[in-house]
Symmetry: C2
Subunit: 230 residues, 2 copies
């Protein structure tokens, strides 16, 4: 109707009319009612990417784990805790023209979550935790048949052999791009304001200089807009 | 000197001149550079207790894990991540007239922290985590000889048989009081604004009605002031 047309005209960025799914933040995988396994993602890079996509006119569904950084304005927010909840929210959010999987999803969860607080047993023996694999959300979406987003972007947080691990991940997952970064504690990237990424695709590896996470987000959003327009 | 005397006169609450140590928040125990084990403590109750003690004139050292709730004004803040760091900070903060251990310290940590991100091995086998015991900060301070605070208060977060477990903890740790609460998810206490506690001591069990965490803190601070004055 006319209101939508006016809104569209006002928001006439290069991503106007496109629906983009962005995942962000960590997941929390429960061990028992009081303990969980988490990872150090602050959600800063995912929030910045969603904000940059909105600024280019995209409609963004933002599926976020328990992040420290709040979601940007202007997105539809879906809050989850675990990888399985994130998988469900992603499925619900499709179809999308592009999907950017910036969340640091736990690869595994505790095999047997218990409903009472774990204690030492009578002999004073400590628990041993066994794990089971979480769903691989990136691979599932990247390898969909009908309904696959035209562009599927994964992230790789690595501590060594960053580009080699990311190159292997690109092939294994079947996504279009991998945004790889080095999260060794001494880089200060995890939890910090800056990022230094390499964007890998079938066309090659594009290493960007270290810059703010906002600047990485704007550069990535511009590259996504270009990819969806061709 | 005269400035101190004036400051003391202005702050002439019942805890004026007393140094109280308060621990608060969760601890984070690293698994590898990107993953850690955490617990659901928000730090809300510990922050409220420290604030209530300051309001009664105490000098408070506030040793806090990575909490969601900020420290109150007017305390000396010491920030830590792990149980071992908290133990070190507590040792540094002593002597104290009273010590309130409101932190949800992890009972155990991963036996072998690794410095590279854990991956599945070549056979696709998932990791098994083994644990080792963390220092028992409450028991260590409660069982000190010379230099023990006159009043040592522990907390017990339980999911079943709350009072029985807390009674056993009081005896095992050697502290003066245990503040016990029920953290089953359905109570909404962990991460919420309210608390329902039972204060156990050699004199018996005192169950308080459900009230705000601020009200619990004021009631506990008043009880601490009374105990230190007799």
């Amino acid at each position: 109707d006319i209101v939508d047309s006016i809104a569209a005209a006002l928001a006439a960025g290069p991503l106007s009319g496109q629906h983009i799914l962005v995942t962000s933040g960590p997941t929390h995988e429960p061990i028992d009612p009081v303990r969980y396994i988490a990872n150090r993602s602050s959600g800063a890079q995912g929030s910045a990417i969603a904000r940059a996509l909105v600024a280019l006119g995209a409609r963004v569904t933002f599926v976020t784990g328990p992040a420290q950084v709040p979601p940007p304005d202007g997105v539809q927010v879906v809050r989850v805790q675990t990888a399985r909840q994130m998988q469900e929210a992603v499925t619900q959010a499709l179809p999308a023209d592009a999907a950017v999987f910036a969340a640091a999803v736990a690869d595994w969860r505790v095999a047997r979550e218990v409903t009472s607080k774990i204690k030492k047993d009578a002999a004073g023996t400590l628990p041993v935790l066994e794990f089971t694999e979480n769903p691989d959300i990136l691979a599932e979406v990247a390898q969909m048949g009908a309904g696959r987003p035209a562009l599927v972007v994964g992230f790789a947080a690595e501590t060594d052999d960053v580009v080699a691990h990311a190159r292997a991940k690109l092939a294994r997952k079947g996504c279009d791009w991998i945004v790889a970064n080095d999260v060794r504690p001494e880089t200060g990237i995890m939890g910090g304001d800056e990022n230094a990424v390499t964007v890998l695709s079938a066309e090659g590896a594009d290493s960007w200089p270290r810059m703010s996470k906002d600047a990485v987000a704007r550069k990535l959003a511009a590259r996504i807009a270009q990819a969806l327009s061709t």
